[in-house]
Amino acid sequence: MTDHLLEVKELKKYFPITAGVMKRTVGHVKAVDGVSFFVDPGETLGIVGESGCGKSTTGRMIMRVLDSTAGSIYFDGENITRLHGRKLRRIRTKFQMVFQDPYASLNPKMTIREVISEPLVVNKMLSGRQVVDRVATLLETVGLRPDDMMRYPHEFSGGQRQRIGIARALTLNPKLVVADEAVSALDVSIQSQILNLMVDLKHQFNLSYIFISHNLAVVRHISDRVGVMYLGHMVEISPKTDLYDNPLHPYTQALLSAALEPKRKGQRQRMILRGDVPSPANPPAGCPFHTRCPQAIEQCRTQRPVLQQVRPAHFVACHLY
């Protein structure tokens, strides 16, 4: 057995499309279609991709809030794919989630103390005075004041709410935190505060992150390795510097070429992809990207490329390699 903290093998999620009064299944949206990767202890894996690529669905399956259609999820060596009931609740304390929208993810009727201590109460881990102490410590850890615990979410700004969301995720001392677009709703100056906080916390508590985002620059900053998803598939995964400096998959190349750096470059030649992402309800045969790929060859139309290692630790699913 490996020492990976998390390992995901051939994970799939198909959502049924139903029609008629009998809700007959007429097809499937293949949101995630066979994704494999791992995360090591203390490591941050970034997952990037555009809307509909399956990155959030992948995160939610790992969190076990969404059941997978096929494939397996190993956490700390244990197969958690089909765990349920008490066993699931016990293992769940080890992985937590931070959400995108700090306004929608905090219950407006709960005080901050209730929000942060709920996981402790649910899991009956501490009581009374201990809970209050723990909440106070957590608030200080994320850069808020212990007195803030009696206030309500609406009294805080977006950045402060995201700090509260992070404190809640840390309550049970998790090993893995899945952050889904955790800084996307924040202004630039606040975004950098939260990113720096997340990096500090990672070192302080030896956390692993799965950092899901559409923002390529943010992902480069926070990740150790980065995976690129397109239409339910992992098309490339590699240590970050190699991925950003030598992208291999034509989709990764296009994505990086379309991303805008706050720097004047004169008229540079950008690679502009034509058209939209195909529907995951009716994905193209062969390589999912071949309909928009400028370098597609005949084989791409018929045969699905598999993820293979072409440079040290750098995997790509493309027939060109």
Binding site: G158, A217, A259, L260, V277
Partner: protein, 321 residues
């Protein structure tokens, strides 16, 4: 130097209620030349969107009110026009596109109806000619199957296509000025690249000046001829885009640029601006950035700095320069 197409002087837009007075836009000056792309950049609450709504005279009533200043388009002060006269200007001489095309388009009207409405209103065309013109315009903005799409509804289109439809609608009367408020914020990066390219084409083919409002300095670097940086309802820096990115002067602009992670290189630490934007209902008397500014002096919080020209066409609101 040629006369500016649009000239804003000392514009103040306040939101007034019984016990508060929110200074959303607090005395700004902006010039836009013919065919120029001016980017207004700032974080939430900086007043950038309210500036654009003020130009269109669409500030939400009854609380929002333009208190003073002038907005001169081609020699005419828009603030002195009657409501009827202003209706002739909107969609005809100035058009606007918004962040979320799904909410900006009318869901119960076909695409064709929505584009022809502008032509019927402003160009007194008959329905048949207007429809032909609408199809021509849709083809021009790169909408595929334009003759069928005029009969379809907004929900049948993808986000990128909807934004193209919005642009077609805004450009169909060939306005002198196009205001785009976060036009690509809701779009994926590969689609963003397509839409930005289209806006550049509008400028070069129709000579339309563009005010592009965004929080994304990457978009600014890619698009702008001239950049206006707003903070807390004021312009803090205004400069030619090359100068601004080459040599940002205001501490806020500098800090903002340093707070953004890069896709091109790995950074050890990200600069982060401490604190949050001051409350628009209670701005401090002195410099509004002083309490977050890394180089602030005692005097900064006592006296409001004026916007000064420190080199040709480079204006900065900071007394320390």
């Amino acid at each position: 130097m040629s006369e500016p197409l649009l000239s804003i002087r000392d514009l103040k837009t306040y939101f007034i209620s019984k016990d508060t007075e929110v200074h959303a836009v607090d005395g700004i000056d902006i010039d836009v030349l013919k065919g120029q792309i001016v980017c207004i950049v700032g974080e939430s609450g900086s007043g950038k969107s309210m500036t654009s709504l003020s130009i269109m005279r669409l500030v939400p009533k009854p609380r929002g009110k333009i208190i003073s200043g002038e907005i001169v388009l081609d020699g005419i002060n828009l603030l002195e026009l009657s409501e009827n006269q202003m209706t002739e200007v909107r969609g005809n001489e100035i058009s606007m596109i918004f962040q979320e095309p799904m909410t900006a388009l009318n869901p119960v009207l076909t695409i064709g109806d929505q584009i022809t409405e502008v032509l019927l209103r402003h160009r007194k065309m008959n329905r048949k000619d207007a429809l032909a013109r609408a199809i021509e315009m849709l083809k021009f903005v790169g909408v595929p199957r334009a003759d069928q799409i005029v009969r379809e509804y907004p929900h049948q289109l993808s986000g990128g296509l909807r934004q193209r439809v919005m642009i077609a609608m805004a450009m169909v009367c060939e306005p002198k000025l196009l205001i785009a408020d976060e036009p690509t914020t809701a779009l994926d990066v590969t689609i963003q690249a397509q839409v930005l390219d289209l806006m550049r084409k509008m400028r070069s083919d129709f000579g339309t000046a563009i005010i592009l409002i965004t929080h994304d300095l990457g978009v600014v670097a890619d698009m702008a001829d001239h950049v206006v940086v707003m903070y807390a309802g004021q312009v803090v820096e205004s400069a030619n885009a090359d100068d601004l990115f080459e040599e940002p002067k205001h501490p806020y602009t500098k800090a903002l640029l340093q707070s953004i992670p890069s896709i091109e290189k790995d950074l050890d630490v990200l600069y982060s601006i401490p604190g949050t934007v001051p409350d628009a209902a209670a701005f401090p008397v002195g410099c509004r950035f002083a309490e977050r500014c890394p180089v602030a002096q005692e005097s900064c919080s006592q006296r409001m700095p004026t916007l000064r020209e420190i080199s040709t066409n480079h204006f900065v609101r900071c007394d320390l320069l």
